[in-house]
Symmetry: C2
Subunit: 199 residues, 2 copies
C-alpha cells in the first residue's frame, strides 16, 4: 500500500476491511471513488455515518430502523397477533417484498449455532418470550433459514412455545418455484415429499 | 428498497452505485456497516471524503497523489531521464512494487480507444510531449497494457517520439513467469516466439 499516497492508502485499507472486498477490489473501488463527483462522494460518506449513527433496534420487533418503533410495529393495519420470527432484517425485507404477509415480525439477529458458540442468549430470543407473555399472540410463524442453524433455532423456539398453547408453525421447505427437480439436492427432495399435500 | 427505513435505503442505494456492487452485495455491505463499531464507520466515511477532497494529479507525472509533486517526481534518487508511460496509477503501483525500476513515470489516465471514442486529446498525452520538450529525457518506456487499446496507444506514442531522437522502448510481451504453455492464448505464444532471445 506504500506505493500510493497516504490518503489513497487509507481509503484502500478502509475499503478492504469490508466483507467480500479484497485488496484488488478495494483498489478498484478507491480509484473509482477518486473519479466520482465530489458531491456524490460526500453523500456516500454522509450516508455511511448517518446510517450508523441513527439506525437502532425497534423496541418491539428488534428490526433495524431509524425510529423508536418501526413502521410495521407502529401500523394498526398489521395483525399484531401473528408474529413471524426471522433471523435478520434482510429476511424481514424479503417477506415484506411479497406484499402478502399482514402480521408483524420478530428479528432474532442470528440463529443458534453450537459450532460457532452462539446460544439462545446471544440472539434476541429472550425478547421474543417477553413479547409472548406481554402481548396477546395467536400464532408464531418460524421463518428462520432452512439451514442447520435455522432448523435448530426453529426447534428450540417451538419446544418452548408449545406448552403455552400458542400456535407455532414453520414455513414450508421444498422445491423452489421454477426449480428443476434434477438440480435439487436430496434433502430438499425428501422434504418436499414429506410435505406433500392433497390436491 | 422501501422495505428498509430511509437511512438504510439511502446507504444501500449509495453503495449499489459503486462498480461491481449489485443490489444484493450493497444490502450485505450495508448491514455489515450497521454492525461495525461507530468509530470505524466514521473513519471509513472520513477516508472517502478526505481522499476525494485532497487527492489531485501530480503536476509532473499526473499520478494521483495528495501533494503538488508526487514523492517519485520529487525524489532526486530517481532517474528523471527515463520515463515510463503507464495507463493508470494502479499500473504505476504495480511497477513500484517490483522495487527495481529507478526512473520516473507518466500516467496517461486511459488509452486511445476509437471504439469508445477516446482519442489522444482525452488522455494525458499532450502533457507527455510537453515534458519531453521541457526536460532532458533519454528514454521513454511504454508500459501501456497489452490490450488492443494499449497497443494502439503505444504505437501512437512511438510514432510521435521517434523523429525526436529520444529512445522509445516497449515492455516485453510473452509467456508470464510460471505460465503453463498449454493454457496460454495463441497471440501471446506468437509474441513470445517473436521476442525470443539468444541464450
Amino acid at each position: 500500500m506504500e506505493y500510493y499516497s497516504r490518503e489513497i492508502s487509507q481509503l484502500i485499507g478502509a475499503l478492504s476491511r469490508l466483507p467480500g472486498i479484497g485488496s484488488k477490489s478495494a483498489q478498484r473501488l478507491a480509484f473509482h471513488i477518486l473519479r466520482m463527483p465530489k458531491e456524490e462522494v460526500d453523500q456516500l460518506g454522509k450516508s455511511l455515518m448517518d446510517a450508523r449513527a441513527n439506525v437502532r433496534f425497534c423496541k418491539e420487533c428488534f428490526t433495524l430502523t431509524d425510529q423508536e418503533i418501526c413502521p410495521i410495529c407502529a401500523s394498526d393495519r398489521r395483525n399484531h397477533r401473528q408474529i413471524m420470527v426471522v433471523e435478520s432484517t434482510r429476511d424481514l425485507a424479503a417477506y415484506e417484498k411479497t406484499g402478502k404477509y399482514e402480521g408483524v415480525y420478530h428479528v432474532l439477529h442470528g440463529a443458534i449455532s453450537p459450532m460457532q458458540g452462539i446460544g439462545p442468549a446471544d440472539i434476541r430470543m429472550k425478547e421474543l418470550f417477553v413479547r409472548l407473555q406481554k402481548e396477546d399472540v395467536e400464532e408464531v410463524i418460524i421463518a428462520t433459514n432452512s439451514s442447520l442453524e435455522g432448523e435448530a433455532t426453529a426447534m428450540y423456539i417451538s419446544k418452548l412455545i408449545k406448552p403455552t398453547g400458542i400456535r407455532v408453525t414453520r414455513i414450508a421447505s421444498g422445491v423452489p418455484v421454477g426449480g428443476d427437480l434434477e438440480y435439487i439436492d436430496e434433502v430438499t427432495l425428501l422434504r418436499a415429499l414429506d410435505g406433500r399435500r392433497d390436491l
